[in-house]
C-alpha cells in the first residue's frame, strides 16, 4: 500500500456537499475537518448524486477492464442506500486522487479494497435521508425504515428526492452500521453488466473510438527486435503517401500521423528505417539454455523463503522427486490494441483512454512534459481488455509525446496488432526446478523450488509452504532486453501450473491419492505449521473436498475418462479444479469438462463472478494449450493471431462452478481461477497417458486430439 493510501485510510471519514440546484453528494473526505467552509467549495470524493427528482447516480471510480467493477462497486453502495437498482445510473469517474482512493485495476483488488468503505458510503447517505424524513414528520429516526428509494414510517412515505435538500444540511453521522448479510437485496444476486446495452448496440465508445475536432491518427514504428535502436530513417515516400500529414522521430521510434488509421499504417510501411544492434539479440533457445544453466548453479542470493534445512533432509531422504518446468513468454493480446488520446497544450495535457493505472500515467506524463500533475487530466474509458498490459503506461507517454511534437495537436495513437503483440511487454519466461524429499515413512520432508526467469518469478509462500518441515525457495533473475510485465495472475499463472503438477507427481511417486496428499499437508499446516502460513488450511481443504465431490474424484466415470486435480490460493481466494479428459481410440486426449470450486468470500454479483471464473478457466486452458512468443535474434516470431494461437469457441470445455457459501469479506476474483487450470489439465493428461507435461504450450506434445 502506498504512503498516500495509508494517509487516506487514517484520515478518511464521510462528508457531504450540497449540490447547486438541489441534491446530495456524499463521499470520503481525505482532508482534515478543520475548515468546513472551505470544504463546501470542493467537490470532494463524490460517490452518490441524488437529484431533487430522486434520480440516483453512483460513480464508479475504478477502471473497468472487463472484470466487472463498474457493476460490482456501485452494487455495494446501492445495497446500503436501499434504492431500486433499475433506477440507478452508473457513471465512470475520471482520475481524481483527492476524491477517490486506489483507482487501479489490478491485483484482483478493487472489490477487496472497497467492500467496507463503499457500503459505509451508502449506509451513511441512507441514515441522513432517514434523519431528514424523521425531522419532517417529527418522529424518531429509529422508527423509520427505507425501501427502494423511499423512507417509510407508519404508512407514510417520502422519496429520497424530496429529502435531499434537507439531508444535505445535516451533519454527517459517524460509524453508521451496515446491513447484516441476511438482509442483502442486491449483493449476491445476478446483476448484469451495466454497459451491456451500449456494448451490444455498438454505441459504447472505447478509447480507440475517440475522435475529436482537428485530431490526427498516429501509429508508431518501433524497433523490429528487442535489443535494437534507431540510427536513421528516410521518410520521403511516407510523406507522399495519401492521408499522411507528419512523420516525426522521438526517442527510439518514429511516429506517422494522418487522416485515418489505415492511411498512417500504410504510410508507416513506406518509412525506411535503419536499426543497429545495441544489446545481445537473443533467441528462445538462448534463453532456455541460459535459464537452465542458472538452475545448474548454486543459488547466489538469499533464499526467498527458508524453513528447516533442505540439504540435511535431502541427504537423508528415502526418495527424491525432481521435475523441471519451462514457461514461454506470453503476450497480453487485449482485443483492443494499445491506444491513447492525448492533447498536450502549452501548460496542460488532456489524456483519455484505456489505462489500468491512471494515477501512474498522470505522474509519468507530467514528468515527461515537465508540467505540474494537476495540469494533467486523465479520463478512463472502459477497456477492451487489460490482463496486466495496461498497468504499463508506455502507450500513454507516447501519445503525449506525439501530441506535443506534432505541434500540440490532439492525437489518437493506435498500435497495429503486429506492434501490440511484437513490441510490447510479455509475461516473463521462467524455468523452474522442483525437488522433493520423501522419508522412509513415506512422508514429504523437503521441498525445494529453484526458479530462474526474465523478471521476478516466485511466490515464496505458496502452498505447500507451511506444511513441509524443510522448504526453500530460491530465485535467479536473468537480465534481458525483453520488456516484461505482470500478466493475469502474475507469477501465480505459472507457479500454480508447476507446483500443482509437481504435487501430482509426488503423490504418484509416493503411491498416494493426489487429493489425499493435499489434505494431509493442509492438516499439517494447521496442526504443526512451519514458518509463515498465508492461507487458512480449513478453507483451502474445504474447496479441495468440494471439488473432489462435484468432480466425481475417485469414482469411475468410464474406462476412457481420466481426471486431474489442482488447487491454488491467490489474491486471498481459494480455487480447486478437476479436469476431465477423454482418451480416444487413437490414444489422443480431449478435454471435456472442468469442475471448479471457489471460495472468494462473499460473492457480490453472482453473474459477474461466474463469468470471471468461466473466462479465467478458459483463458488458463487456452494459454497452457496453445500460446507462446518465441524469439529469433530478438525478434518475436509471432506478431498476429495467425501464428499466436488463441483458444476459440469450438475448443472450450464444459464448465461447472460452485462458490463456497461464506460470511467473510469478498476476496479477489478477476484472476484466481486462471492459475490452476493448466495444472488440472496436465494432471488429467498424466492420468490418461503417463506423460508429464512440463512445458507450455501443451499442443507441442502431440498428445491432444
Amino acid at each position: 500500500m502506498s504512503e498516500l493510501e495509508n494517509k487516506l485510510n487514517r484520515r478518511n471519514f464521510l462528508r457531504i456537499t450540497a449540490l447547486t440546484g438541489g441534491g446530495l453528494i456524499l463521499g470520503f473526505n481525505s482532508l482534515s475537518a478543520s475548515s468546513p467552509e472551505q470544504e463546501q467549495s470542493f467537490d470532494l470524493n463524490a460517490f452518490i448524486k441524488i437529484d431533487a427528482k430522486g434520480k440516483v447516480t453512483i460513480m464508479s471510480p475504478n477502471p473497468e477492464i472487463g472484470q466487472g467493477v463498474k457493476t460490482s462497486l456501485p452494487i455495494l453502495i446501492a445495497e446500503e442506500l436501499d434504492v431500486d437498482w433499475k433506477n440507478v445510473q452508473i457513471q465512470q469517474a475520471g482520475l481524481d486522487t483527492v476524491k477517490y482512493k486506489r483507482q487501479i485495476a489490478g491485483g484482483s483488488g478493487s472489490v477487496r479494497a472497497s467492500w467496507d468503505s463503499f457500503r459505509q458510503v451508502g449506509a451513511t447517505a441512507r441514515q441522513m435521508l432517514i434523519s431528514a424524513a424523521a425531522a419532517t414528520w417529527a418522529v424518531p429516526a429509529a422508527e423509520c425504515t427505507t425501501e427502494n428509494g423511499m423512507v417509510l414510517h407508519s404508512g407514510k412515505k417520502i422519496s429520497y428526492g424530496e429529502l435531499v435538500e434537507k439531508a444535505s444540511k445535516l451533519e454527517v453521522p459517524k460509524d453508521v452500521k451496515v446491513k447484516p448479510k441476511e438482509t442483502f437485496k442486491l449483493i449476491g444476486q445476478r446483476i448484469k453488466n451495466v454497459d451491456n446495452h451500449a456494448i451490444v448496440t455498438g454505441q459504447y465508445k472505447y478509447g480507440i473510438d475517440t475522435k475529436r475536432e482537428g485530431m490526427l491518427y498516429a501509429t508508431i514504428i518501433r524497433p523490429p527486435a528487442f535489443g535494437m535502436t534507431l540510427t536513421s530513417f528516410d521518410d520521403t515516400e511516407a510523406k507522399k503517401a495519401p492521408g499522411v500529414k507528419q512523420v516525426l522521430r522521438f526517442e527510439n521510434k518514429i511516429a506517422v500521423l494522418g487522416r485515418t488509421t489505415w492511411e498512417v499504417m500504410q504510410g508507416a510501411k513506406k518509412v525506411k528505417a535503419q536499426w543497429k544492434e545495441e544489446g545481445p539479440l537473443e533467441s528462445t533457445a538462448d534463453y532456455i539454455k541460459n535459464l537452465h544453466a542458472l538452475l545448474a548453479t548454486s543459488p547466489v542470493d538469499k533464499p526467498r523463503r527458508k524453513d528447516g534445512d533442505i540439504t540435511a533432509a535431502f541427504s537423508g531422504a528415502a526418495k527424491v522427486v525432481e521435475v523441471n518446468f519451462d514457461a514461454p513468454f506470453l503476450a497480453h493480446n487485449t482485443m483492443e490494441p494499445m491506444n491513447f488520446f492525448a492533447h498536450v497544450k502549452a501548460d496542460s495535457a488532456e489524456l483519455y483512454g484505456p489505462i489500468q493505472t491512471p494515477e501512474r500515467a498522470r505522474s509519468r506524463v507530467a514528468e515527461i512534459l515537465n508540467i505540474p500533475q494537476d495540469k494533467v487530466s486523465v479520463m478512463m474509458t472502459r477497456m477492451g481488455g487489460g490482463f496486466g498490459r495496461r498497468l504499463m503506461t508506455d502507450f500513454v507517454e507516447e501519445a503525449a509525446m506525439v501530441s506535443k511534437l506534432a505541434g500540440n495537436l490532439p492525437v489518437n495513437v493506435i498500435w497495429s496488432r503486429e506492434h501490440d503483440m511484437g513490441g510490447g511487454y510479455y509475461r516473463p519466461m521462467y524455468s523452474y526446478k522442483y525437488r522433493a524429499a520423501v522419508d522412509k515413512d513415506n512422508k514429504l520432508i523437503a521441498w525445494h523450488h529453484y526458479s530462474a526467469g526474465v523478471g521476478g518469478s516466485a511466490s515464496p509462500d505458496s502452498f505447500p509452504a507451511g506444511a513441509v518441515p524443510n522448504l526453500q525457495v530460491d530465485t535467479h533473475v536473468y537480465k534481458s532486453p525483453v520488456t516484461t510485465a505482470p500478466w493475469r495472475g502474475p507469477t501465480h499463472n505459472f507457479i500454480a501450473f508447476s507446483e500443482q503438477s509437481f504435487m501430482d507427481q509426488i503423490a504418484h511417486d509416493m503411491g498416494k491419492d493426489p487429493v489425499t496428499l493435499r489434505l494431509e499437508l493442509l492438516e499439517l499446516a494447521k496442526s504443526s505449521p512451519v514458518g509463515k502460513v498465508n492461507y487458512e488450511p480449513d478453507r483451502f481443504a474445504a474447496v479441495i473436498k468440494k471439488a473432489a465431490e462435484i468432480g466425481g474424484w475417485g469414482k469411475s466415470k468410464g474406462a476412457n475418462i481420466f481426471l486431474g486435480f489442482a488447487a491454488h490460493f491467490s489474491f486471498e481466494s481459494y480455487v480447486a479444479q478437476v479436469a476431465e479428459v477423454e482418451k480416444l481410440a487413437d490414444g489422443k486426449v480431449k478435454l471435456k469438462k472442468v469442475y471448479c470450486v471457489v471460495d472468494c468470500g462473499t460473492v457480490v454479483n453472482q453473474s459477474g463472478a461466474e463469468t470471471q471464473v468461466e473466462g479465467s478457466i478458459i483463458d488458463g486452458i487456452g494459454h497452457a494449450m496453445f500460446a507462446e512468443i518465441t524469439l529469433t535474434k530478438g525478434k518475436p516470431d509471432q506478431t498476429n493471431f495467425s501464428t499466436y494461437r488463441m483458444i476459440r469457441l469450438n475448443e472450450i470445455p464444459e464448465i461447472e462452478i460452485h462458490f463456497s457459501k461464506s460470511n467473510v469479506a469478498p476476496t479477489g476474483l478477476g484472476e484466481p481461477a486462471l492459475p490452476p487450470a493448466g495444472a488440472a489439465l496436465a494432471n488429467a493428461v498424466y492420468a490418461a497417458t503417463g506423460v508429464r507435461l512440463t512445458s507450455q504450450p501443451f499442443i507441442k506434445s502431440d498428445l491432444f486430439a
Binding site: 477492464i65 472487463g66 466487472g68 445476478r190 448484469k192 453488466n193 454497459d195 451491456n196 446495452h197 456494448i199 451490444v200 448496440t201 455498438g202 454505441q203 459504447y204 465508445k205 472505447y206 480507440i208 473510438d209 475522435k211 491518427y217 495519401p242 487522416r259 485515418t260 488509421t261 489505415w262 492511411e263 493480446n333 487485449t334 482485443m335 483492443e336 490494441p337 472502459r382 477497456m383 477492451g384 481488455g385 487489460g386 490482463f387 493506435i414 497495429s416 496488432r417 453473474s607 463469468t611 470471471q612 468461466e614 473466462g615 479465467s616 478457466i617 478458459i618 483463458d619 498476429n640 493471431f641 495467425s642 488463441m646 483458444i647 476459440r648 469457441l649 469450438n650 472450450i652 464448465i655
Partner: protein
Amino acid sequence: MATFNLTVNGKKHQVDVSPQMPLLWVLRDVIGLTGTKFGCGIAQCGACTVHIGDAAVRSCVYPVSSVGTEKIVTIEGLSENGDHPVQKAWEEIDVPQCGYCQSGQIMAAAALLKSTPNPTDEDINNAMTNICRCATYTRIKKAIKQVNAL
C-alpha cells in the same frame, strides 16, 4: 483516391478514399461508425465483422472497392432500437466482459441464425470463430441457443 457510394445501415454515404482502403476503416474513420472494431487487420479475430448483403464479412481485409452496390449493415444498424433477438439474448445472458469483441460476435451470430435458425453445436462451432480474449465463449454459446427461446 476514388469516390464510392455506400449504403450503410440504410443510409447513403459518399466517400473519397483509396480503393484499397478496407471497409473497416471507411466505416470507423471516414463515416464515423465505431461500433465495428479493429482487432488484428488480417481477418483472424473477427472483431470487425459486418454484414455485406446477408453474409458476415471481416471488414478489415475487405477493400471498399469490392462492396459494389451491396448493402452494408453494421452493429449500429442491426436493429433500429437495439432489440435484435441476438442483442437481446446477449443482454439477457449477460455475455460481455470487456465487451470489445462483442459487436463482431453478435454480427457473426446474427448471420448464422439468419441462415440456420436452429443451429446445432457443430453449426455454432463452425460459424463462431471470432476470438474473445475474456473467453466469454460459454455464454456466447448459451446466448445463441437461447435466441429462439427468448
